[in-house]
């Protein structure tokens, strides 16, 4: 379903994604794990037509996102790591716009919107502007919106960031259900190793833009001789904290932009 060969993305001199290759099969749940700044989001952006790769090849359902962006866009749904809601619109309106974007028939859209807003406990607040929501509520709406249409591939970039355990549980149950009933292929990233272990059939670990290990959770544990995926992850990626946390990097980028150093 997803095929990546020798993918590279450079921002100026800096190589964020460095010759990675992997495949995700149809109907598979695939987790992409790695420390902050490893290149996960950048990879997802290239797969989802938001960024053009520096070099290498990509295929989504046999199509190159660079050459057929719209065909590719029809095939996936995504929950972004960063906010992507319209704060001036209500929860309901955000769902409505999404439904129109994805050509969900009106009747189905209305039904599913209600079902999802109830599932993620936003139904009571459906007519409130999203900018009034708490962080976790916004996150839940992002997820509900991402699940409104049923895509062939679902990208989830740290979907559970900042969510309470109840909601996390709801989310993964729902994702597994979609995967089993509709055969949706899932590509996810998370920093919670227990989640990855629970839902993912296969895992790739990326560090400094390179894939350092790949396999089922069991295989990764066996490879490293560790009891838990968390320990295996630490062995594979080292235990030093990445000083370049995403937020810091973002600030740097903002500064650079302010001084006209556009990349």
């Amino acid at each position: 379903m997803i095929q990546v060969k020798n993918l590279v993305k450079k921002f100026g001199e800096f190589t964020a994604v460095d010759h990675i290759s992997f495949e995700v099969g149809r109907g598979e749940i695939f987790a992409f794990l790695g420390p902050n700044g490893a290149g996960k989001t950048t990879t997802i952006k290239m797969l989802t037509t938001l960024l053009r790769p520096t070099s290498g090849t990509l295929e989504i359902d046999g199509l190159d996102p660079g050459a057929h962006p719209n065909e590719v866009r029809k095939r996936f749904g995504i929950v972004f790591q960063d906010p992507s809601l319209d704060g001036d619109m209500t929860a309901w309106e955000n769902m409505e716009i999404h439904g129109v974007f994805y050509h969900v028939p009106r009747k189905v859209r209305v039904e599913r919107t209600e079902q999802l807003l109830r599932l993620f406990e936003l139904w009571e607040r459906r007519n409130d502007q999203v900018k009034l929501f708490s962080g976790g509520m916004k996150r839940r709406l992002e997820i509900a919106r991402g699940l409104l249409h049923t895509p062939k591939i679902l990208f989830l970039d740290e979907p559970t960031l900042g969510l309470d355990p109840q909601t996390r549980n709801q989310l993964w149950t729902h994702v597994k259900y979609l995967n089993q009933t509709e055969g949706v292929t899932v590509f996810l990233t998370t920093h919670y190793m227990d989640e990855a272990e629970r839902v993912a059939q296969r895992i790739a670990i990326i560090d400094h833009g390179k894939i350092v290990a790949e396999g089922s959770p069991e295989e990764l544990k066996r490879q490293t001789g560790k009891e838990s995926l968390e320990d295996a992850f630490l062995v594979l990626t080292g235990s030093t904290v990445r000083e370049e946390s995403a937020t810091n990097a973002d600030q740097m980028r903002q500064m650079a932009k302010m001084w006209g150093n556009r990349r």
């Binding site: 995504i78 972004f80 001036d88 309106e93 129109v100 974007f101 994805y102 050509h103």
Partner: protein, 248 residues
């Protein structure tokens, strides 16, 4: 429901929900009208040019439409800042439709603002010379609105940060306004200035409005109309192209 329609509706809802902004954005034209209209009125009259409020009102209406449409068009920058842009960029719809929804929404908002200011002008004593020409004046308002919404969207696609907005305002929008003849007659200008004003698309919009509203013409209606239509078309194409190239 089509994509263009929901995005158009979104612009309109955002406008209606920001009441403070509506009031604030009417303040500036009002200030111009009062300060200039009544302040410069006597001088203008002495110079044998007639009633200045009458002369400047079409210019103030054009100014309102200009600022409002550029501002809404560049709302793209806020969509980028708050992340909603990503949602539109991955949607399986032709980006030209997204762009059109945005432009039409921005233009509609600008038209509403322009009409509100026209009402204010009326209260301040402005009178149309020929009521039958009002639909033509509305057409010119609409063209100005579309032209600058397209320009705003094009610029919003090309620049990435809010800081750039100030630059555009100071070095593009303000000159467009001041050189358009919104505040002074374009006849008998010194050489360089008269060339520059000819290059200013808003000059044709102001002229069209002035011709239809008070019967004073500089370029002629045919020239006004064709320049506005051609430039709007070019900007729509440029804007779509730039919008389709956005990366996030």
């Amino acid at each position: 429901m089509s994509v263009i329609y929901v995005l158009w509706l979104r612009e309109l809802k955002r406008y209606i929900r920001s009441r403070a902004q509506i009031v604030a954005s009417l303040g500036q034209p009002l200030l111009y009208l009062v300060a200039l209209g009544f302040g410069l009125g006597p001088v203008f009259q002495k110079a044998g040019q007639g009633n200045y409020v009458q002369f400047v009102a079409p210019g103030i209406i054009a100014m309102t439409v200009l600022f409002s449409s550029i501002f809404s068009g560049m709302g793209l920058l806020w969509d980028r800042q708050f992340g909603f842009l990503k949602e539109t960029l991955v949607a399986p719809v032709p980006r030209v439709e997204v762009m059109l929804g945005k432009v039409l929404g921005a233009a509609t908002v600008a038209m509403i603002q322009g009409l509100l200011v026209a009402i204010v002008c009326f209260i301040a004593g402005f009178r149309v010379v020929d009521v039958k020409a009002v639909p033509a004046a509305l057409l010119f308002m609409g063209l100005i609105a579309c032209l600058f919404s397209a320009l705003g969207t094009a610029i919003g696609s090309a620049i990435e940060n809010i800081q750039g907005f100030q630059l555009v305002m100071n070095f593009l929008v303000m000159p467009i306004f001041f050189l358009s003849g919104a505040l002074f007659p374009l006849s008998n200008l010194p050489g360089v200035l008269s060339v520059v004003t000819r290059l200013d698309p808003l000059a044709y919009g102001v002229d069209g409005l002035r011709t239809t509203l008070i019967g004073i013409s500089h370029f002629g209606l045919a020239a006004d109309l064709s320049v506005l239509v051609v430039i709007t078309t070019i900007l729509l194409f440029t804007g779509s192209y730039l919008f389709s190239k956005i990366q996030a």
